[in-house]
Amino acid sequence: MTAPPGPFRPQFWRSPLRGPWLTSAVGTALLVLVAIVAVTGFLSHAAYEPDLRGNAIVPAAADLPITFGWPTSPSWLYALNQSLHVNVGLAAVPFLLAKLWSVIPRLFAWPPVSSLAQALERAGIALLVASAVFQFATGIANVQHWYAFHFNFVVAHYYGGVVFVGALVLHVLVKLPVIVRAYRRHGWLRPLRADLAHTRPEPADPHGGLAPEAPDPPTLSRRGLFAFVGGASLLLLAANAGESIGGPVRRLAFLAPRREDFPVNKTAAAARVTPAMVGRAYRLRLSDGARVTELSRDELLAMPQHTARLPIACVEGWTTTQTWSGVRLSLLAEAAGVAGAGSAFVRSLQPAGVLSKASLSGDAIAAGDALLALRVNGHDLALDHGFPARIIVPGLPGVHNTKWVASIEFGPPA
């Protein structure tokens, strides 16, 4: 069967740089980056402790049974995790684009299906490319608060991650012999030594179909291409990473979605928390599941206060470290009659929303710096930052630091 004209014919693809070595080299770099992104992504899922009451966003019955107690020390653990997830993800974009460019002739391979094995492989590749572009597109749109999609981001991005990792492992296993052959033939980095004058096409590979049959003269060396792709990575990193590092670097992050020192993702108005709800009538309700103890904000301020410098780290990758003071959660557990509580179910005054409630583990409650914060940087909390009282626990995802706390129900010691 003759291939139809155009991209289905090998002569159509003329870049002198395409070939198994180039794809292997770009793919290896991309693999390292996406491995970091995938691992931190699944760690973030675990950090939400979906096994605790009210925490699961992906329904527990439909989830992989992988959960563990997320540590509260070091306090910057989740900040580091999400900084890596988001920033390494951005840095991987140019490598992903380069990788897809390097293999585009394979999309038009003719005949489209030549054997059962090849049909299976193409199905795997379709899943890989679809889930890869899906993960990057939804993740990037989400950190920019661009909800262009009408589905639950967390659910779709989680299962998309599972599809991506499955298809990626499959792809690496299937292509391993091709990769090994390319590196054996050309060396790990040898093709990068050639300057433009010495840049030659890779030898034609009738089976792979990546090296060109009729190459144009090169306008870029292979090391030039890597410098271009790597430079693009660094540029995207420079545009964003400041929001994850904080301090004076934050202002340099010229395209980061969160450039302010103390960002607010959800304002009181957006959460429909009104000044009346947090006025003089406000009482924090503590319970042990049966008996309720009510405390006014003045009574909370009269309890022993503890001060700690802790970061809030958003799943979106931005971090801010502030000095919080308030009542230790372990002390509140005692006040509720549950010394050494094994869990705390925290509800917000916020009337609705997935994140109007969150459970904390016994370890989180016991952490010395785990607070019901009443003040920040020496002032009462602002309404948008959770006045009259908010949770702040070291090392946890930002949204589990519930704002406008209405009630805490402590569970018995584990």
């Binding site: 585009i104 999309l107 490319v129 899906f134 950190v143 661009w146 779709a156 995207l236 395209l255």
Partner: protein, 132 residues
């Protein structure tokens, strides 16, 4: 064994992918299902049949306008600028507070840097290779 590994890998990993796809459609509403399917399929189509041909076409046009490797002084800053625009469209295109201006300034800096590099390289090349 070497020939069987890919088959075994497919048998182990394709079902995992299928499980995740089944779950995401099962736990989401019908409306969300359509959205996810559109985004999954649309992502590949938009990249492979729109974005890639588009930038390849632009690249070809640039190589037609500027012959030889000098095209890099044009296409590399242009590609970096476009990449920033696409990756950060959620803020550059949708938020007013200076994002578009900063993107333009960085774009200008990239082209300026490229032009200076071109000039410097041409100067240093001139004594040895006149009229390069």
């Amino acid at each position: 064994m070497r020939r069987r590994l890919p088959l075994l890998a497919h048998l182990a990993l394709l079902p995992l992918c299928a499980w995740a796809l089944v779950q995401v459609f099962r736990v989401s509403s019908a409306k969300a299902d359509v959205g996810i399917a559109v985004w999954l399929v649309g992502a590949v189509l938009v990249h492979d049949l729109l974005v890639l041909p588009l930038y390849s076409g632009l690249d070809r046009a640039a190589r037609g306008a500027v012959r030889g490797p000098n095209v890099n002084y044009l296409r590399i800053p242009a590609a970096l600028s476009l990449l920033m625009l696409i990756v950060f469209w959620g803020v550059i295109g949708r938020r007013g507070d200076g994002y578009a201006l900063r993107w333009l300034l960085v774009t200008a800096a990239l082209f300026t840097g490229s032009a200076l590099l071109y000039r410097a390289r041409r100067r240093s090349a001139r004594p040895r290779r006149p009229g390069r």
